[in-house]
């Protein structure tokens, strides 16, 4: 149970302060500022305990959001709420910045009143919230009917969707967004790798449609494949093993538990249908081969080769390789075949950027780093080379098999709905030791 919620700017000034419970005093605001924001040593842990009070914080650009409690709460719940809070704010006024928060503080207090009640998180579905918390100033008074409709919807069984939505074109968009994380040894051995993915759906459907979502989940495929033996062999390759997944509140969990089918009535607009994680059979889009040679005390030669490892027809985008340099670097010369490379002193790294790269290609950079001799005996720790990219497929191998829409009351069928599916694979922490 969250006792209070504070939003600070980068200087530690309080922008928003909302206290839900009496056990949180005014001094909690200062305690967080002094011990975390202004701490001499940068605070890495998102949970800080000060005088038996727990502070959970997330940072969005220069803004600190901190939830405070004196009780032993579920930390995951608090962070989930904080992220949701960020999403809600972003949906209302765009980027979370000091200026935006200052301009919308009445709205934020209104939102906080709605989505947190005595410290218990409530409905934080943006679509539903937007029906009764508006930004347009004072609108003409709602009719009684409308008011009662909002009440029945918010308190009803399907709180995330209102009735009577009508679209001329029934359309839906499915995005499979994945981020792939990797740690690789210099010899090319995978030390750890996992993909965390999200399925985001944007729906513009009339009425109260019943949807059913299918993907190449190993369990489902095997269950179905039991009847025909030859099919299991074929589809077994393509199915993936999902380690764990979580769903949006609209998904009927009982049905998932019993039949492992994902059926739901979607909220109107954009929402995150599910989140999942896989660790097996990951397609690693890039391979980084580092070569570091120390020439005497004052020189370092670095050569890095990257190889793209996917279908030649696909194009990877926004590729960025970051090669850390020692702290006593006094000069860098870089030669690269493709893209642009630059030594960024403020980040102690060589940053190599490539706009586009097709599959099954390779590219190379070589750099000479001059070092200043120091009297410090500490050896350079050789931080890993990290990489950023975006590829148009799902590195986990996930495929959307179907998304069926049924609306028994209105006369449109599954065939009339226009469906779009998109896969985006991004890099998470994608590192290779050198």
């Amino acid at each position: 149970m969250i006792g209070g919620l504070f939003i600070y700017n980068h200087k530690g000034e309080v922008l928003i302060s909302r206290v839900y419970r009496d056990d949180i005093g005014r001094n909690a605001v200062d305690a967080f500022r002094v011990n975390v924001i202004h701490a001499r040593q940068q605070v890495r842990s998102p949970v800080t305990n000060i005088a038996r009070t727990s502070f959970f914080h997330v940072k969005r650009s220069n803004i600190w959001l901190a939830a405070v409690t004196k009780q032993n709460v579920n930390a995951a719940m608090v962070f989930e709420f904080l992220y949701k809070m960020c999403d809600v704010m972003a949906a209302y006024f765009g980027k979370i910045s000091e200026e935006n928060i200052k301009n919308n503080f009445v709205l934020i207090y209104e939102l906080l009143d709605e989505i947190l009640d005595f410290g218990y998180p409530q409905n934080s579905e943006t679509g539903a919230l937007k029906t009764f918390i508006t930004q347009q100033g004072i609108k003409s008074q709602l009719t009684k009917e409308e008011q009662s409709q909002i009440t029945s919807q918010v308190t009803g069984q399907i709180g995330w969707r209102r009735e009577g939505i009508k679209y001329r074109r029934n359309e839906l968009f499915l995005d499979v967004l994945e981020s792939v994380n990797l740690l690789m040894s210099p010899q090319g051995q995978v030390l750890s790798a996992h993909v965390s993915g999200r399925v985001v759906m944007k729906s513009y459907l009339s009425g109260m449609p019943e949807c059913k979502f299918g993907m190449n989940d190993k369990i489902v495929i095997e269950k179905q494949g039991k009847g025909t033996a030859d099919e299991t062999g074929k589809s077994g390759k393509q199915s993936i093993a999902i380690d764990d997944c979580t769903f949006h509140q609209c998904v009927r969990l009982s049905k998932f538990d019993s039949e492992r089918s994902i059926s739901f009535i979607p909220p109107d607009g954009e929402f995150e249908l599910m989140r999942y994680r896989t660790t097996k059979d990951i397609i690693l889009p890039f391979r980084v081969i580092p070569l570091v040679r120390e020439v005497g005390r004052t020189k370092l030669e670095v050569k890095v080769v990257i190889k793209s490892n996917f279908k030649p027809s696909l194009l990877a985008q926004k590729i960025e390789v970051r090669i850390p340099t020692p702290l006593n670097t006094s000069g860098v010369q870089v030669i690269c075949m493709k893209g642009k490379a630059k030594y960024k002193a403020s980040e102690n790294a060589i940053v190599w950027k490539i706009k586009r790269m097709a599959g099954m290609k390779e590219s190379q950079i070589s750099a000479e780093i001059e070092l200043l001799p120091t009297n410090d005996k500490k050896k350079w720790a050789r931080p890993p080379i990290s990489m950023n990219f975006e590829v148009p497929f799902a590195p986990s191998g996930l495929k959307v098999r179907y998304l069926k829409v049924f609306e028994p009351k209105l006369n449109y069928s599954d065939h009339d709905v226009i469906k779009w599916v998109r896969y985006i694979g991004r890099s998470g922490i994608y590192e290779t030791r050198c």
Binding site: H10, R40, Q42, N62, L327, N328, T329, S330, G331, A345, S346, E347, N348, E370, L372, P373, T374, N375, D376, K378
Partner: protein
Amino acid sequence: MCVADTARDVSGNAHCKSKEAEIKRINKELANIRSKFKGDKALDGYSKKKYVCKLLFIFLLGHDIDFGHMEAVNLLSSNRYTEKQIGYLFISVLVNSNSELIRLINNAIKNDLASRNPTFMGLALHCIANVGSREMAEAFAGEIPKILVAGDTMDSVKQSAALCLLRLYRTSPDLVPMGDWTSRVVHLLNDQHLGVVTAATSLITTLAQKNPEEFKTSVSLAVSRLSRIVTSASTDLQDYTYYFVPAPWLSVKLLRLLQCYPPPDPAVRGRLTECLETILNKAQEPPKSKKVQHSNAKNAVLFEAISLIIHHDSEPNLLVRACNQLGQFLQHRETNLRYLALESMCTLASSEFSHEAVKTHIETVINALKTERDVSVRQRAVDLLYAMCDRSNAQQIVAEMLNYLETADYSIREEIVLKVAILAEKYAVDYTWYVDTILNLIRIAGDYVSEEVWYRVIQIVINRDDVQGYAAKTVFEALQAPACHENLVKVGGYILGEFGNLIAGDPRSSPLIQFNLLHSKFHLCSVPTRALLLSTYIKFVNLFPEIKTTIQDVLRSDSQLKNADVELQQRAVEYLRLSTIASTDILATVLEEMPPFPERESSILAKLKKKKGPSTVTDLEETKKERSADMNGGTEPAPVNASAVSTPSPSADLLGLGTGPPPNAAPAPASSGSLLVDVFSEPASAVTQLAPGSQENFASPDLASSELVSEEPSEAARGADELTHKFVCKNNGVLFENQLLQIGLKSEFRQNLGRMFIFYGNKTSTQFLTFTPTLICSDELQSNLNLQTKPVDPTVDGGAQVQQVVNIECISDFTEAPVLNIQFRYGGTFQNVSVKLPITLNKFFQPTEMASQDFFQRWKQLSNPQQEVQNIFKAKHPMDPEITKAKIIGFGSALLEEVDPNPANFVGAGIIHTRTAQIGCLLRLEPNLQAQMYRLTLRTSKETVSQRLCELLSEQF
């Protein structure tokens, strides 16, 4: 170009938005500087200075800097002041002593010192002082005195040199050579330049504290300098006049310097007295300025002058004037002044000349106690009251302190309680007042009354027949209050248990009423108090046979007999059996009234000293003790045992377990039952008394361990034999210690039985595995000594302590000592430790008191040449009769006073108890102070015993 410019450069004109931004900015700047320092390009002095300055700034922002040192050293050889300055600044902040550059730096400093350019010399001296490391001292400690006393050195350099030398002397005094320069430094006190004088005074004061002889001549110079300052008009000293006070800092320093020495010879003294009088006079003058700085400076000089007066303690006139002056400050508006005045008065109170004068301010001080808002000032007031207390005003002061106690700050309550307890005891004219005061104390601040305080009341009540009846009556009345503090129940339980019979005649306090009153408190008390009350009940059985059945019923009840606490259960069982089995005669003997406690230094005083730290109170106490010795000789405890071999913890001390059994001390009531069986089997010879509250006698592990810690660990390093010798005269201590293991002992012996607690302390943080201590006795020893142990737990956790009990029975006399062998696994390796257990024959000694003629009669009976052993040996330790006495008592025999015609000789007697025989022993120790020799003669009824005892005892002196 200054640091501020750099700051602007480095952190950018706009302040960085966040920490990350700042780090980025700094990384960029560092990379830039690195590329500039790369070495292939030659930088001009200006940019070198600029970048070094930037690096310094970045370092001060909290980032690591690991380059640029070479450039900074290069700057040192520049000829420009600003460049040199930045170089020195960088080096004094950033260069650590083990750097390889230190030689270059030292070279540069040497050059600058030799340069004759005062600013460069100044910079170099500042750098040396700022770094102030041992290496710097090694390099320059010889050089700086030369600069200091050279005739042609500039004043400002002299000043810096004096302060630099002071700094080096403080860090490594051994490296600063004393030589002929010292006498010339003293003459700097005559220097024209007051700045030089001030710096030199600081230096001389510090040096004089270590070598007072060498700087003796400074006294007269300081006095004349001081008198010149004091008598000068405020305008004479121009720059050194601070808000109309001439050279206050210098005056204070000179006065401090004078405090290093005793009062000077009469000629100089007259002049000094004049100075001090002038200072006191000036304090009376109306202030020349309303500014706070003026009065601060003036008062600083005044207070320093007063502490000099107190230090000299020779001029009654000045002391009284100082006291009056302080008296004025007591009511001053300024809190700090009141505080300082009270503090100085505390020391004044201990001087015989001004004690009376201080006493005149008692009303003001008491008033301060009541009305003062600042806690620290109130505490000083309490200190002062304590210091000014004597017999004439004790009652008033104690009453005031008790009053104040009710509202006192929690942090100082315990100290006040101790002080009240001490004053009440020390200046008690009539002990009924004392008892009243202490009971009041417990009533008002029971929680803050430490054990020592109520132990002391009981000691005093037991030692003085005249107050016992009154004490019993008062505690009885005090106990009738519906809610009384546990400490009061303890005191009440003890006193009624001892002296309840004195008030039993009154029908209002008949035995049954007394018992019921105590028992009504029983269930509200903690376990130790309940244990004490159980002992009281058994004492009641003896005192009042008529309520025996009632008490037996209580003892028999399930809540006692089946109590979860072992101690209570055991007491209940044992006391119940004692009351049913033993005849009235035995009961009367066993439960006889406690014998008087030996007089010794009050443990409360010891506690107060411990609380306050040794320096302050001790001196005060010493002086006070001397003064009050004649006033209150009887109760002033003579420090008999103060010089004893070991100083046991106060609680053990009180009940006489510590240094060895004092005559008739009550041994511990049995905790295993075996000792109690003895009481029954030998009732005639047993002079055991069960003391209420004697559970303190039990060797509780906590107590033992706290004592173990206090022993100096270096003792473990000595040879094994020596270790055994150490334990001949004492029972507790550290037997063995290395990096892994500490073995502590605590033992008690009675007649032919003994019990030894061995504490094995794991000093590491890892477990000991298969920890097996074994006792190894030779065959011969086995037949003479019966040892029984229980195995201990084979694993000892890191930092933990395990206890092992060894029950010892002496069958016949023996010479060897059993060996304790300990094997355990630490980490992967097997450890093996063997030590001799200090179980020696003298442990089974029981002291026997006898008169002179008895002694000589027995001495003659044992005239058989085999029975006598004589040893003449050289003293190994200083021949202090008090220590010798303590050792003989610790050895186990009784020390017989006034037996030997020569009072310098020591005579002892005792019986060695073994199962087979009891061997009487007589001993005589004749010290020869001129030759530093002892002659020790022992006569016992058995030859081997004489031999062994003589060996053991000879090693002790």
